[in-house]
C-alpha cells in the first residue's frame, strides 16, 4: 500500500483529497509535522483560497522545509489547485508574492473577458504538451473539474503536461522530474481524476 502524506496547513478542506486517495488503496497521513513530511515518499500539497496567506503558513509552519527535504530525498510531490500555483516562482494575486520556485512561471489573473472564477468541467489539451506519467492512460480530450480565479503563465514548455482553454490557453497540469501539479481537482474529476491519482501513486515514473 502506498503511503501518502497530505499536508495540513490550514488551507481549505482536505477531506475529499484524502478520501479519493484512500479509495485507490493509499494509506493517507494528514499532517502538519515537517518531520513526517521530510520522510515521505509521496506528498500532496492541497490548497484552496488566497496565495499569500497560504505561502506564509507553509513557510512559518516549517512545512516548506520538510517539503524541500522530501523532494531532495526523491519524494514525488503533487500540488493541487492553489497547491499547484504555489509551485511556481511567484503570484500576482493581490500584489506579488514569491512562490516555492519548483516550476518556472508566474501565477496571474485571467485576461479581461474570461468568466471568473473558472468553475466547471473543461477539456485537457495535450497537443504541444510533453508526454509523461502524470496523464498516462488518460483518454485524449478528457474533461476535468476546475475552480480557480488565477492561472499560471510562462511555464517551461518541457514541463507542461496539459493545457486548458479558458480566456486563451493556460497550463492545466505540469511536471518537472518529481514535482507534479494540477490546476484542476482530480478528486472531483470522476474517472479521469482517479486515473491521475493512480498515476501519482504508482511506482512508475
Amino acid at each position: 500500500m502506498t503511503r501518502v502524506v497530505l499536508l495540513d496547513y490550514g488551507v481549505g478542506n482536505v477531506f475529499s483529497v484524502r478520501r479519493a486517495l484512500e479509495r485507490l488503496g493509499a494509506e493517507v497521513v494528514t499532517t502538519s509535522d515537517p518531520g513526517l513530511v521530510a520522510a515521505a515518499s509521496r506528498v500532496v500539497l492541497p490548497g484552496v483560497g488566497a496565495f499569500a496567506p497560504a505561502r506564509e503558513r507553509l513557510a512559518a509552519s516549517g512545512l516548506e522545509a520538510g517539503l524541500r527535504a522530501a523532494l531532495d530525498g526523491g519524494a514525488r510531490l503533487l500540488g493541487l489547485c492553489l497547491g499547484f500555483q504555489l509551485l511556481f516562482e511567484a503570484s500576482e494575486e493581490f500584489g506579488t508574492t514569491p512562490g516555492l520556485g519548483l516550476l518556472s512561471g508566474r501565477v496571474v489573473p485571467f485576461p479581461p473577458g474570461a468568466r471568473v472564477p473558472h468553475v466547471g468541467w473543461n477539456r485537457l489539451e495535450t497537443d504541444g504538451a510533453a508526454d509523461g506519467p502524470l496523464l498516462a492512460g488518460l483518454p485524449r480530450g478528457s474533461y476535468v473539474y476546475f475552480v480557480h480565479s488565477f492561472r499560471p503563465e510562462g511555464a517551461d514548455p518541457a514541463d507542461v503536461a496539459a493545457f486548458c482553454d479558458h480566456g486563451g490557453r493556460f497550463v492545466a497540469a505540469a511536471r518537472r522530474a518529481n514535482v507534479w501539479g494540477c490546476q484542476f481537482h482530480p478528486e472531483k474529476s470522476s474517472a479521469a481524476g482517479r486515473r491521475i491519482l493512480e498515476n501519482f501513486l504508482s511506482e512508475a515514473a
Binding site: N13, A20, P117, G120, W121, K188, S190
Partner: protein, 498 residues
C-alpha cells in the same frame, strides 16, 4: 468557451433519505442517497444537487450526516441546499464535504446573507436558488417552495445577488416545474439578460428534446432535472448525447470499459447474447456505441438494427426484455457478450433462441442431437474463454440449465399442484431443510447404494439446491463468479498445479 454544459440530477431529501424513490434497476435501497449518488456519477452526471425539502432546524444534523456520507463516495462536485439560513448552516455543510451550498428563501428575507456567504467561503461556493413565477407581464420571485409570491422582479433579484457575490443562479420556473412540458425559455432569457453568472436551468424537463433549447435559446450553463432521471425515463448519458447532437459541448458520458471497444468501420460491434441462467446462446446482433452505453446504463439489452438503421431496445414492443447481468468484451475488443435474464423468447419468431438446427451433426460421446443450447465448448475450460468479464455459468456438465429454467418459470408463474411451488411457498427455511436432508441421503447412498442409487440422490440434492437458490433469489451467476474467482486464486498462488 469550452466549458462543458453540466447535466445535474437533483435529489430531494428529507431526514437523510431520498424522498421520491429512485427506479434504478437493482437499487438495493431506493431511498439511499449514497447509493443514488454513486449510480449517477457512474452514469456521467457532472454534479449532483441535494435539496432538503423538510429543512427543519431539528433535521440539520441529519442533513450534515448525509453530506458526509455522500462526500465519502463521490468524486464529482455536489451542491446542497434547503433551509440554509446562516453562515453557520453553510459552514456545517461545506465542512462535511459539500462543494457548494444553495440559499433561497433566507436570502430573499435577508439579501446580505449572500454577501456574508461569499465573503466567508468565496463566490464559487454560493449558489442562489431563485424560484420564479409569471405574474402578469413580468416574472417575480417566489419563496417557500412557490407558495408565496413576492413583489421582487426576477431580473432585479438576479442582478442584486450577482452584485452581492453569488457564484451561480439555480433558476426554477414554478410555472414549468412538474409539467414535464419543457424548460421555461422566456424566463431563462429574462434571467440571462440580468447576469453574467452561470445559470442552472430547472423545472419542466420531460423530454430529451427539452434540454438543448435551455442552453442554446435560454442561455443556461447547466441543466438540472429530477423525475426524468429518478423515474428512469432517461439516463444522464441519454441527455448528454442529445445535447451533444444538438451541438452543445458536454463531458462525454461513456460508461467505464466501453471506451476500449473496437467498433468496425460502420461504428458497429457484434453482440452475442447468452442466457445467464442456462448458458444458452440466444442471439447474435449488432450494437453501436449508443446501444452499448444504453445497455450498461439501463441494464436492458439495446442493439442497432442494420436493416432499419435505428437503435432498438429488446422487448420494447414484445415485452420480452432482457435484463443484462453482465457485459463482457472479447480479447480483441471487437465483440461483445451480454449475459441476460430473458423475460421471454429471444427470437421474434417466438423461439427461445434465435438459433435453430440446420442439419444434424453427430456429436461424439454420450450427447445426442444438436448443441444449440449446451455450450460444451466452454465446458472444456475457461482457458478457451476470450471474454474478459467474470465468466457466466460455465459448462453445465450436469445439465442443470434446463432445471434452472423450469424452477425460475415456476417461481414466476406458479402452477397448481407443482411440488416446486409448494416448496417455494414454504419459504427459504423449508427449502434449506430439504437440502440438508438430501445431503445426508446422498452421503448415505455413497456408502450403501449402487451408482444408479447414488445418482438419484445427487439429482435430488441438486434439484433442491436449485429450488433453494430460487427461494433466496440467488442467481447461478453468483455461484459461477465465486467458482471463477477460486480458479483465479488457485492459478495465482499455485501455478505449478495448473
Amino acid at each position: 468557451m469550452s466549458l462543458a454544459v453540466r447535466v445535474i440530477p437533483c435529489l430531494d431529501v428529507a431526514g437523510g433519505r431520498v424522498v421520491k424513490g429512485l427506479k434504478f434497476e437493482n437499487l438495493r435501497d431506493a431511498g439511499d442517497p449514497v447509493e443514488a449518488a454513486r449510480r449517477y456519477e457512474a452514469e456521467g452526471a457532472d454534479e449532483l444537487c441535494f435539496l432538503d425539502v423538510a429543512a427543519s432546524h431539528e433535521e440539520r444534523g441529519t442533513l450534515v450526516g448525509l453530506v458526509a456520507r455522500v462526500a465519502d463516495v463521490l468524486s464529482i462536485p455536489f451542491t446542497v441546499g434547503g433551509g440554509v439560513r446562516s453562515v453557520e448552516d453553510a459552514a456545517a455543510l461545506l465542512s462535511a464535504g459539500a462543494d457548494r451550498v444553495t440559499v433561497n428563501t433566507a436570502a430573499v428575507a435577508d439579501p446580505a446573507l449572500v454577501t456574508r456567504l461569499a465573503e466567508r467561503f468565496g463566490s464559487q461556493c454560493v449558489v442562489v436558488a431563485v424560484d420564479a413565477k409569471k405574474d402578469g407581464e413580468r416574472y417575480v420571485v417566489s419563496t417557500h417552495g412557490g407558495r408565496r409570491i413576492t413583489t421582487t422582479g426576477l431580473a432585479e433579484w438576479v442582478g442584486e445577488v450577482t452584485a452581492r457575490g453569488a457564484g451561480e443562479i439555480l433558476l426554477t420556473s414554478m410555472d414549468a416545474d412538474g409539467t414535464l412540458a419543457g424548460f421555461d425559455l422566456a424566463m431563462l432569457k429574462a434571467a440571462r439578460s440580468a447576469t453574467a453568472l452561470p445559470i442552472v436551468a430547472s423545472g419542466g424537463a420531460g423530454d430529451l428534446a427539452h434540454f438543448a433549447p435551455a442552453v442554446l435559446e435560454g442561455g443556461a450553463d447547466a441543466v438540472l432535472a429530477a423525475s426524468v432521471f429518478h423515474d428512469r425515463v432517461y439516463t444522464v448519458g441519454q441527455v448528454k448525447r442529445a445535447l451533444a447532437k444538438a451541438g452543445v459541448p458536454v463531458r462525454p458520458a461513456i460508461p467505464a470499459g466501453l471506451e476500449e471497444v473496437a467498433f468496425d468501420e460502420r461504428g458497429l460491434v457484434p453482440v452475442v447474447v447468452r442466457d445467464e441462467r442456462t448458458g444458452a446462446v440466444l442471439t447474435l446482433a449488432w450494437a453501436n456505441e449508443e446501444a452499448l452505453a444504453l445497455t450498461v446504463e439501463t441494464r436492458s439489452s439495446h442493439f442497432w438494427s442494420r436493416s432499419r438503421r435505428e437503435l432498438w431496445k429488446k422487448g420494447e414492443t414484445s415485452g420480452n426484455v432482457q435484463r443484462v447481468v453482465r457485459v463482457s468484451l472479447d480479447c480483441d475488443r471487437d465483440a461483445v457478450l451480454y449475459d441476460v435474464e430473458p423475460a421471454g423468447p429471444a427470437c421474434h419468431t417466438g423461439a427461445r433462441s434465435c438459433f435453430s438446427p440446420i442439419s444434424a451433426i453427430p456429436v461424439e460421446g454420450p450427447g445426442e442431437g444438436m448443441m444449440v443450447d449446451a455450450p460444451a465448448a466452454r465446458a472444456a475450460g475457461d482457458a478457451a474463454d476470450c471474454s474478459s468479464a467474470v465468466p457466466g455459468f460455465g459448462g453445465d456438465p450436469f445439465g442443470l440449465g434446463p432445471l434452472f429454467e423450469v424452477v425460475a418459470a415456476r417461481k414466476a408463474h406458479p402452477e397448481p399442484g407443482s411440488y416446486t411451488n409448494r416448496l417455494l411457498a414454504k419459504g427459504v427455511e423449508k427449502c434449506a431443510q430439504k437440502v440438508g436432508e438430501e445431503g445426508v441421503e446422498t452421503a448415505l447412498a455413497a456408502v450403501t447404494r449402487d451408482d444408479a442409487g447414488l445418482a438419484a440422490e445427487i439429482a435430488d440434492l441438486m434439484y433442491h439446491v436449485v429450488v433453494l437458490m430460487a427461494a433466496r433469489g440467488l442467481s447461478p451467476g453468483a455461484v459461477a463468479a465465486e467458482l471463477a474467482e477460486r480458479r483465479q486464486k488457485r492459478r495465482g498462488t499455485r501455478p505449478e498445479e495448473k
